[in-house]
């Protein structure tokens, strides 16, 4: 048919070389066949033979645009629109050209013009919406996508783009402040629609999985990701998300495999490198973790967490300054990174700089006011008599936040039992608060009945209070829990060398037997 049409049109041109419609139609035939050079030749002929031929001007402009001759294309689009100011196709394609030329405002105006002339021209709404990427334009973009979908229900790209818009949800209020307008339910419905129309859309499969991952629907998310990867085996992002889910499900082997694939298919992948490094750190594979975290930082130096984990690995290094450098870097990027302050404090403590450690524990509590462990460690390090009040306050705060903090009860008990404090004039006072100390050791034991050290300290206090039998029980429990606890045996010996203690304990040991005997007698009776 086409061949016949071509032959007929060529014949017509042969008979009348100035027949511009024949040139135009022949150009359209070549265009449909993909022979764009020939198409241009005929469109140019048509335009030169009839300067008032808007359709030919428009098609010529489209083809010139295709050949990246943008300025020539613009000229012919403008010719077409001058000849026919209501020429929808010319406006629409001119708008697309303006997008290519990055003149987005003018492009939007032209898409508007298209919609003005033909209110049912769905691509105009869709393409305009795609240009509205600023958070200020969120609602307008959404409206345009929705209009495009009202006109053309099975508009796959519009469904996909609207879903992506709602997945991100970055918008602003009237006053310019940021607002989260994510609507994952609606986004999901649009991704499902895309997959209904085209089940092989790897992007829709992947983005749907992203939402499901955020909703902790790991099983469903994995099935969509598996499909996305099947459709596009080198889909780096899909491998990355797949790995994240495997990691959440504690299947570290598979997680490692997919992080590695994600990196293999897209090497400049700081996120995957970071997560892989972090995972390797958690699996104690420190050399690999260090390597990957360093690569991640090279690609994205602003990743505070990558610096933090690298610092944690470097704490094992002989040179403490290496870890410090990365802790400080993490804190420079994110000054509210409480965990970084906390671990930096531990690092300082292990490097022997107790004062610096205290400063960082303090900082961690400033940033995260409910950081019980930070208060506890700050108190634990405030061990001099002049810091007694500070330590007491911080132990109490830690226990207010986390009542069942057994270690904190234990250390607080030790502070109270020792009771060494310095007055303002520098006098050392020794005022043990034995009752409070006993209370906290008992709490520590209640929370963790295997805390043999708490039993040990409780035993010492009870023995000071001459409650020898209870002291003996407590010390004995401590060595029962940990038979290798040398101090427990020692303290028990100290107690047993006290004659009063020895006799009270021996008496108490006999007592239950006599009770038992009286019980058995009464039973016999």
């Amino acid at each position: 048919m086409v061949k016949n049409a071509k032959q007929l049109l060529e014949k017509a041109i042969e008979l009348d070389p100035k027949l511009s419609p024949a040139h135009f139609k022949l150009g359209l035939l070549y265009q449909s066949e993909g022979d764009f050079n020939s198409a241009i030749t005929y469109f140019e002929q048509a335009v030169s033979l009839d300067p008032s031929f808007p359709a030919a001007e428009c098609e010529l402009a489209i083809e010139l645009g295709r050949q990246q001759k943008f300025e020539d294309a613009r000229e012919h689009f403008l010719n077409a629109l001058e000849l026919d100011p209501n020429f929808v196709k010319a406006y629409f394609n001119y708008a697309l050209l303006l997008v290519e030329l990055n003149d987005l405002e003018e492009a939007k105006n032209n898409f508007d013009k298209v919609a003005e002339i033909d209110q049912n021209y769905a691509p105009a709404y869709f393409n305009k919406a795609k240009l509205l990427t600023n958070p200020d334009d969120f609602e307008e973009a959404r409206k345009n996508y929705e209009t495009a979908l009202d006109i053309k229900e099975d508009y796959t790209e519009a469904h996909y783009s609207l879903a992506k818009l709602l997945l991100g949800g970055k918008a602003t209020n009237k006053d310019g402040s940021n607002v989260d307008k994510r609507d994952w339910e609606v986004a999901k419905s649009h991704f499902y629609k895309v997959l209904q129309i085209d089940e092989n859309s790897h992007k829709a499969n992947y983005n749907l999985a992203r939402i499901l991952f955020q909703e902790n629907s790991f099983k469903k998310a994995k099935s969509y990701l598996a499909k996305a990867i099947k459709l596009l085996p080198k889909y780096s992002k899909a491998h990355y998300l797949y790995a994240r889910i495997w990691e959440q499900e504690k299947n570290f082997e598979k997680a490692t495999l997919h992080y590695n694939k994600s990196i293999e298919y897209f090497s400049d992948n700081p996120k995957a490198l970071f997560h892989l490094g972090r995972l390797q750190f958690l699996c104690d594979n420190f050399p690999e973790a260090e390597k990957n975290l360093k690569l991640s930082i090279q690609l994205d130096p602003q990743n505070a967490k990558a610096n933090y984990f690298l610092a944690k690995i470097l704490t094992q290094d002989k040179d403490p300054s290496l870890a410090k450098k990365h802790f400080y870097r993490a804190l420079e990027i994110n000054p509210d990174f409480a965990e970084a302050y906390f671990d930096l404090a531990f690092h300082s403590e292990h490097s022997g700089d107790i004062n610096e450690a205290k400063i960082h524990f303090q900082k961690a509590t400033d940033v995260e006011q409910n950081f019980a462990e930070a208060y506890f460690n700050l108190a634990r390090l405030s061990s001099t008599p002049s810091e007694y009040d500070l330590a007491e306050r911080n132990f109490e705060t830690a226990l207010e936040i986390k009542e069942d903090f057994d270690e904190c009860h234990y250390f607080f008990g030790k502070l109270l039992a020792k009771g060494e404090k310095m007055t303002k004039d520098g006098t050392l006072l020794v005022q043990p608060q034995t009752e409070r100390g006993i209370y906290h050791f008992k709490q520590a034991i209640k929370i963790n009945p295997l805390n043999y050290k708490a039993f040990y300290e409780l035993g010492i206090l009870l023995s000071k209070q001459e409650q020898y039998e209870e002291a003996f029980q407590s010390l004995h429990t401590s060595i029962e829990i940990n038979p290798d606890f040398a101090n427990g045996h020692y303290q028990l010996a100290v107690l047993l060398m006290n004659k009063s203690a020895q006799s009270e304990i021996a008496k108490a040991k006999k007592a239950p037997r006599s009770k038992q005997a009286s019980l058995s007698k009464s039973k016999k009776k």
């Binding site: 606890f485 040398a486 101090n487 045996h489 020692y490 028990l492 010996a493 047993l496 020895q502």
Partner: protein, 224 residues
């Protein structure tokens, strides 16, 4: 559940053989149980393996003292004193060794060193008084007992010894000028409720001395 402290000490040392506190207590228990030779063997092997420790040197010295090896005891206590010259415990052990040796001068010297670090130690003043001869060193002895009694005025044993010491002193020599200030103190002591509890013989001696004092020409000075 063993109630034998030795069992737990042996266990503690088995788990942490280096622990000096456990080693000390173990040695002390051996000494208390009357096994100084076992204590000597244990301490010597501990010191050879884990190095010097002042409290263990002290116990070793006391163990040697118990077995009558005074020279070795002196050697060990001097090792302890080199490391902790201000430890009252070690100084007291040194005193005991010198006393056992019959070296009263050195024994007294160690007690004086204890007093330098703890001038409220009743026992030390008492021990010092015991080292002095009741006849020839009566004044000094009375002084020491007086200090001891002033620190612990509820101790009848000290009071009794003090009054006897006064009697020995005043009976041995005629009332001297130096004794003036002591006469009033002695008189005051006889007014104490403790005085009535003294054995009759001591009270008689005291009353005789009081009578001599009142007959003396300086009696009025004494009253003022």
């Amino acid at each position: 559940m063993s109630l034998d402290p030795m069992y737990h000490l042996l266990k503690a040392l088995e788990l942490d053989p280096k622990n000096p506190k456990a080693a000390y207590l173990h040695s002390k228990l051996l000494l208390d149980q009357g096994s100084p030779n076992a204590a000597i063997d244990f301490i010597n092997s501990y010191l050879a393996e884990f190095g010097s420790h002042p409290d263990l040197h002290k116990l070793l010295a006391l163990a040697y003292l118990q077995t009558g090896m005074i020279e070795k005891a002196e050697e060990s206590i001097s090792q302890a004193l080199i490391q902790l010259p201000r430890s009252t415990d070690i100084l007291h052990a040194a005193f005991r060794i010198k006393k056992a040796k019959g070296d009263k001068f050195s024994a007294f010297h160690f007690l004086e060193r204890i007093i330098r670090h703890d001038d409220q130690s009743v026992e030390t003043y008492w021990e010092m008084a015991q080292l002095l001869d009741p006849k020839t060193e009566a004044e000094k002895r009375t002084n020491l007992l007086e200090i001891s009694y002033s620190i612990n005025s509820k101790n009848f044993k000290i009071f009794k010894e003090l009054i006897i010491s006064y009697c020995d002193w005043f009976e041995g020599t005629l009332p001297q000028k130096e004794q003036h200030s002591y006469r009033k103190t002695f008189f005051d002591h006889t007014q104490s409720t403790f005085f009535l509890k003294l054995p009759q013989e001591v009270r008689k001696r005291s009353m005789l001395i009081l009578k001599n004092i009142t007959l003396h020409k300086d009696y009025f000075n004494f009253l003022t």
